[in-house]
Symmetry: C2
Subunit: 217 residues, 2 copies
């Protein structure tokens, strides 16, 4: 992917092109800062959108699920759109039509590939756990063959992707600035609460640190 | 919609059917607690997923955007899937395969209808602003005809929808409870930060209250 040119016309940002970004670093940072993406696929001519955990390894975007899942069965080998996004702030202006949100979003188009090799599947799942909870994989009860079999892992290329970012805050039509109502931004943040141990956690064992928003190759 | 039966087979929750909910109150509460939904549509045989603000008025789910938007042009009259969801907590177990998230999600399938009538369009946009910022519409600079024309409003029925909820926290395979690693839940919450006024807001004018998560008819 080039830093300035869209990799395809269908991921080119048309509305508000100044918000479009085509460099991998920008796309990767949005993916690496998210826990969930929205996977779109077509089944019997109808679109479906399923939220699911996503993670990146180099040039690949991964997701996974139960091998019995309709979503995963339907998407293997099929065209997918994976959208990853967050709202950074509510934006209030003096005209209703200038209200907005500041956001970061990435749209990835591709074909879903199934991870067939068991070693590769296990490595992908380890990367998924380590991405959110660094150091945790080695502390877990080791995987069993039936767990691995019951889990399907899919990936798509990060070659046809674009990012769209709005970060300009409030913006009024010329002349509206003196209209006597409040305008500005209200930040939105996702925060982690205090960990709640299950009843079997012995005293003194602390919850792992959660890593959000770190680009890692 | 019935409280217990899926309105169609394609929105029936197959994986983990105990997590499925088919009553409108549950679906409505998930929609009313969200700012953004993910709209899926098909264009030239490829799925697309676009995040966009959504709101509900009675039996209809609305979204809007620029009349120049490809997404809105492509979806008018077409089949759509709108998915609305939030993560409530990260769930950590003693096997990597039992890690999960607690979540609320709603999937709505339908056809996108264009709001043609200008009065109806204006009422829908007022409902959108009032849903997030009660009392704000009356304080705004009144709409101009060209603003209304440049804005497209769409809706779909809430007749074919289902909700899926996971709220059981950590859950291990039998025998894993004594494995010596931390397990439990880490809550995730979206919080509003302190409002940041733009440079034209006079002293003493305070930001409007934001209403999230209130079911309103």
């Amino acid at each position: 992917m080039s830093a300035t040119m869209p990799p395809s016309d269908r991921v080119r940002v048309r509305r508000k092109p100044e918000r479009g970004h085509y460099d991998r670093a920008t796309v990767d940072a949005i993916i690496d800062g998210a826990i969930v993406g929205h996977v779109g696929f077509v089944l019997d001519d109808h679109p479906y959108v399923i939220p699911t955990a996503i993670w990146r390894q180099g040039d690949r975007l991964y997701w996974h699920g139960s091998s019995a899942s309709r979503m995963l069965r339907a998407t293997a080998g099929a065209r997918v759109c994976i959208t990853v996004d967050r709202i950074d702030a509510l934006v209030l202006a003096r005209s209703g039509f200038d209200h907005s949100v500041d956001y970061h979003s990435a749209v990835i188009l591709g074909v879903a590939h199934l991870v067939v090799d068991e070693t590769e599947k296990l490595a992908a799942l380890e990367a998924f756990v380590e991405r959110l909870y660094p150091g945790r994989w080695a502390t877990l009860r080791p995987p069993r063959p039936k767990e691995l079999k019951a889990t399907t892992v899919l990936w798509t290329e990060l070659s046809e992707a674009s990012a769209k970012i709005r970060d300009i805050g409030a913006h009024d039509e010329p002349g509206d600035e003196t209209w006597p109502t409040w305008a500005g931004t209200i930040p939105l943040t996702t925060v982690l609460g205090d960990p709640i141990p299950d009843p079997f956690v012995p005293d003194g064992l602390v919850a792992p640190a959660v890593r959000l928003g770190v680009a890692a190759d």
